[in-house]
C-alpha cells in the first residue's frame, strides 16, 4: 500500500519545473525498476492505468510485482493560458500527463496576483477542487500535496496561493508543501515585488512547509556547472561543446535543479534505507514554531543528471570525490537554492538526508561533528540534526546529500522583498491594476504578516546563548534541599 504525493503545478514556471520533475522522476524510477513492475515506489508518484478498457481502469499495486501498463502522473495542472501546457502535452510527457487533470483558461492572469487570487481563484474553485478530489480518490493513503509555482507572476502566485488556502480548508490533514520560485532582482516582470509579497503572506498562513527557490541562485549554479563542465571537456581534450548544452532550452537546467530537490526530499518515502525520513518527519523536526516553516535547501551533487550522451569522463570529472566533500558543499553559500548565506546566520534546525548504499550513520555523524563548530546554532538546538539515510543513490552519482535548513538567513530574503515592494508601494505605482480585484488593505495585511515573521526570525538570530533555566524539583523528594 503506497503513500502517495499529489503534485499541483500552477502557472508557467510551475508547469515548466513540473515538466522537468516528471522527466527526472521517470528516469530515476526507470534506473532502479529494471523489471518494469509497478511497485510501491512508483505508486507514490504514478498511477498504473489499463487503457485497453474504457473508461481506463486504475490497477492497484497489489504485491508490487504487476507489470506496468501505462503510467499516469498523480498531478493536477493549472494554467490560465494554454501555451505552456499545450507544448507539454505535445511532447514526450503527453502520455504521462492526464488531460482529465487539467484546468486551463485562455487569457492568462496578466502578471497580476489579485487577478489570479481574487478572480480566477473563485471562478475556477469548483473545477480545480474537482480535479484535485479526483486525483486524491485514486490514492490509497495520501501523504501530501506538493505545489509548484512561482511567486512573481499572476497565475502561479495568485491562483497557486488560492489553491493552498483551499487545500487547507478541504484537506486539513494532508501536508501542503510548496516549491516556490522567488523572483530575482533582475526579474523582467515589473510588478513581481507586489505579487511575491502578497503570495508570501498567504504562504505564511496556509502552507505547512515552503521550499524557497531563487532564480538567481539557479542561474549562478547552472553557470558554474557549465563552466566547470567546459573546463573539464576542454581539459580532457574531448571536443564538440559541452554535451549538447546548446540544444537545451535556457531554463531547462535550472528547472532540473529545482526538480531534483523534490526527488531527494521524497527519496526516503519511496525507497528503503536504514533511517527513513518521511515528509511528516521533516515538518515535525524542522518547523519549531508554526509560522516559521521556510526551509533553505541545498544539495550535492548539483549537476543535473546527465543525458545519456553526456555520461563519461566529463561528468565523472565533476562529481565530488568523497562523501565528506559533499557535506562541506551543502553548507556553503554556492550550493543554496536561494541567495542567502546560512553560515552567517543562525540555524534553528537542520536536516540531512544522505542517499547511496555506502552512506552510514557514522559517516554522517563524523561530518556533522566536523562541520558543526562552523555553524551558529540556536541555543535550544545546539547539537540537533535530523538525519536520514536512503539506500538508493540519485541517478548518475554513487551518493547524494540534501540539506534542509530552517535558518534565520531567510529573514534577509524577506527584507529584500519588502524593500522592493516598498519602492513601488510608496508611490502606489501600478496598484490600480490590483484595486480592480482587491482592497489596498490586502497589501497592508500581507506586509504586516511578513513583517511579523521577519521579526520572529531576527529575534532568534542572536539567540545562541541560553537564558538561565529553573529546573523542576523532583516531585517525590520535595523535602530534600536543592
Amino acid at each position: 500500500m503506497p503513500r502517495e504525493l499529489v503534485t499541483i503545478q500552477v502557472g508557467q514556471c510551475g508547469n515548466q519545473v513540473g515538466c522537468r520533475f516528471w522527466e527526472l522522476a521517470l528516469r530515476e524510477h526507470a534506473a532502479y525498476n529494471t523489471k518494469g513492475v509497478y511497485d510501491e515506489a512508483l505508486s507514490s508518484f504514478f498511477r498504473n492505468v489499463d487503457t485497453r478498457v474504457e473508461p481506463p481502469r486504475n490497477l492497484p499495486v497489489g504485491d508490487g510485482r504487476g507489470p506496468i501498463r501505462t503510467l499516469k502522473a498523480r498531478s493536477v495542472i493549472v494554467d490560465m493560458e494554454c501555451g505552456v501546457i499545450n507544448e507539454m502535452l505535445k511532447g514526450p510527457l503527453g502520455e504521462v500527463l492526464d488531460t482529465r487533470q487539467l484546468v486551463s483558461d485562455v487569457s492568462g492572469a496578466g502578471n497580476n496576483w489579485a487577478h489570479g487570487h481574487h478572480m480566477y481563484g473563485p471562478q475556477y474553485h469548483d473545477a480545480i477542487l474537482d480535479k484535485i478530489r479526483l486525483t486524491t480518490e485514486d490514492c490509497d493513503s495520501l501523504q501530501s500535496f506538493m505545489l509548484l509555482h512561482s511567486l512573481g507572476g499572476g497565475t502561479g502566485s495568485g491562483v497557486g496561493t488560492y489553491i493552498v488556502q483551499m487545500l487547507a480548508d478541504e484537506f486539513p490533514n494532508v501536508f501542503r508543501f510548496t516549491g516556490s520560485v522567488f523572483p530575482s532582482e533582475e526579474d523582467d516582470v515589473v510588478t513581481s515585488p507586489y505579487n511575491a509579497l502578497l503570495a508570501l503572506g498567504q504562504l505564511v498562513e496556509h502552507a505547512d512547509c515552503v521550499l524557497p527557490i531563487e532564480n538567481q541562485s539557479l542561474i549562478e549554479i547552472v553557470n558554474r556547472t557549465e563552466a566547470a563542465r567546459e573546463k573539464a571537456a576542454g581539459g580532457s581534450g574531448a571536443g564538440g561543446g559541452s554535451g549538447g548544452g546548446g540544444n537545451r532550452k535556457p531554463f531547462d537546467s535550472m528547472n532540473s535543479v529545482a526538480a531534483s530537490l523534490l526527488l531527494h526530499m521524497t527519496a526516503s518515502v519511496r525507497f528503503e534505507g536504514p533511517l527513513n525520513v518521511d515528509l511528516n518527519d521533516i515538518t515535525m523536526n524542522l518547523v519549531p514554531y508554526p509560522r516559521m516553516h521556510f526551509l533553505l535547501s541545498a544539495m550535492s551533487p548539483l549537476e543535473p543528471p546527465p543525458r545519456e550522451k553526456d555520461v563519461g569522463r566529463q561528468v565523472l570529472a565533476l562529481q565530488p570525490r568523497t562523501l565528506d566533500q559533499v557535506f562541506g558543499e551543502v553548507f556553503s553559500r554556492e550550493h543554496q537554492l536561494i541567495r542567502a548565506d546560512p553560515r552567517n546566520a543562525t540555524y534553528l534546525a537542520c536536516g540531512l538526508i544522505a542517499r547511496g548504499p555506502a552512506a552510514t550513520i557514522s559517516d554522517i555523524n563524523r561530518n556533522v561533528a566536523r562541520l558543526r563548530p562552523q555553524l551558529r546554532m540556536v541555543h535550544w538546538n545546539s547539537e540537533g540534526f535530523k538525519l536520514g539515510i536512503c539506500s538508493t543513490p540519485p541517478v548518475g552519482s554513487p551518493f547524494g546529500l540534501l540539506c534542509l535548513a530552517n535558518n534565520t538567513a531567510i529573514a534577509s530574503t524577506f527584507t529584500t522583498m519588502r524593500e522592493r515592494f516598498d519602492k513601488l508601494y510608496r508611490r502606489r505605482f501600478y496598484t490600480h491594476h490590483y484595486e480592480q480585484f482587491m482592497e489596498l488593505s490586502g497589501f497592508e495585511s500581507a506586509l504586516e504578516v511578513v513583517g511579523d515573521l521577519t521579526g520572529q526570525y531576527l529575534q532568534l538570530e542572536g539567540a545562541t546563548r541560553p537564558p538561565a533555566i529553573t529546573r523542576l524539583r523532583p516531585r517525590g523528594l520535595s523535602f530534600l534541599p536543592l
Binding site: S362, D363, K386
Partner: protein, 444 residues
Amino acid sequence: MPVITLQLGQCGNQLGCSFFSTLAGELSANDYGFDAVNEYYRAGPDTAGLYTARSVLIDMEPKVVAGARASAAASGSWWRYSSSGYLVMQSGSGNNWAQGFHGYGPRVHEAALELVRREVEAADSLTGFLLLQSMAGGTGAGLGTYVAQALRDEYHSAFITNCCVWPYESGEVIVQPYNTLFTLSHLSDLSDGIVLLENEALHLTCARLMGIPRPSFADMNGIAARAMASVLLPSRLRGPTNSSTTSPLADLVTQLCPHPAYRMLTLRAIPQLPPASIDFTTFTWPAILKRLRQMLVTGSVLEEGMDWSINPHSPAGARGTGATCGSSPRVNRAVANWLVLRGQGAGDVDVGEFADPALTSAWTVDPLSVSYNPAKFGRCLMSASLLSNDRRCVGPIERMQECAYGMLASRAFVHQYEAYGMSISDFTACFARIEDIAQRYVRL
C-alpha cells in the same frame, strides 16, 4: 516459558531482526535444549515446517517491516516471521511522540492486541513480553509506550521488559529530548525493567573494539543483539540449589528490579572482539572478570579506555551524597547485579570480587546473582555478561534533560505536540518524573 517479542518502529524492527538471527545462530551452534528454542520460537504451521519467531512487528510505515520479514525469509535459516503477525500503517509517526501515543495508539489498539493475543494463545504459558523500541522517534517511542500500557492493562501478571535504544547525543532527531523523556517517564511506571542500549556506546564498541571504522546501524544492531542474547539464553544459577533458570527474562527482572523506583538496567557483555581475532585470543577468566568488574565500577559500557584508578574503597568512592553524577569521577553503584558466565570452566570461577558490598546499595537483600553455562557463546572460549541495575543511566538522562529544558523554555516544537492534545503541564509533569528517577539513582 515463552516470551513474546514486540518490535516497534524502524529501530525496533531492525534490532529485532538482528536479535532473532543472533539467537538462532547461537541455538544452532550449541544444544541448549528444547525449552530455550521454545522460549522465542514456535514450530509454526504457517511457515512450512520451519520455526516461527514469537514476535509481533508493528510500524506506522510499511517499508521496514517488509524488509525485516523479507530478510528473515531470504536468510536460509530455520526460522521465519509469522506470515500474519505484523501491523503496518502508511503515514508514519513523523518523529512525534504525541502522534504515536495519542494519535495512532487508540487507532491500532484493537488490532495490535489481537496480534499479541494470537501469539499468547500459541504459547502454552507466558512469561511476558520483550519490547524493542527506540526512544527518539515517534512510533517506537510513542506508539511503543502506548502498546506497553495496553499490555499492562490486558495482561496484569506478565512481565514487560523494554530494550530501549538511546539515541546519539549529537542527535539523530531534533525533538529527541522530548520523545526520549516522555517515553522514559511513562515506561518507568509501566515496565518491569528497562534496558538502555546507547547508540554512542554501540558505535564506539564497533569503531574501537570490533575493528569497524564506519559502523552502520546493522553493525550496531549486531552488537546489541549479541549482548541481549548473552543474557537471555539459558543458564544455571550458581548457589546452593544449582537450579536452572526457568525463564531468564523473568528471573533477571525479578531479581534485579526489586524496588519500583529503580528499573533502569545496563547491559555489559564482553569480550568485544572482531570475529577474525577470536581464534587468536587467549581467554582467561581472571582477565575477563577483572575488566568486567572495572567496567561496573566506573560505570563504563566499553571494554577499554576505563579509568583504572577508580576504586570503590578509596575515599573518593566512599558512600556520600551531594555532587551530581558527571561532575566528579564517582564510583558506580548498583541496586543489584546479575553475572552470566559462559564457556569453559564457567561453573567454577571465583567471582568473589563481584560480591563486594561497596558495589551495591546498602539496602539490597540479594545484591549478586551468578549463573553460568558451559556452552561457548559466539565462538569465544570464555565470555561474561553483566546486567546491572545501576547508576549509568544518570549521565545520559541529565544531558538529555538539559536539552529538553532548553527547548521547553523557548517553547520550541511544542505546537507539534499540542496538535495531539498534549499541553505544557504534560511536559512539566514528565520532566518532574525524570528528575525523580535521576535523583534516586544519584543518591543510591
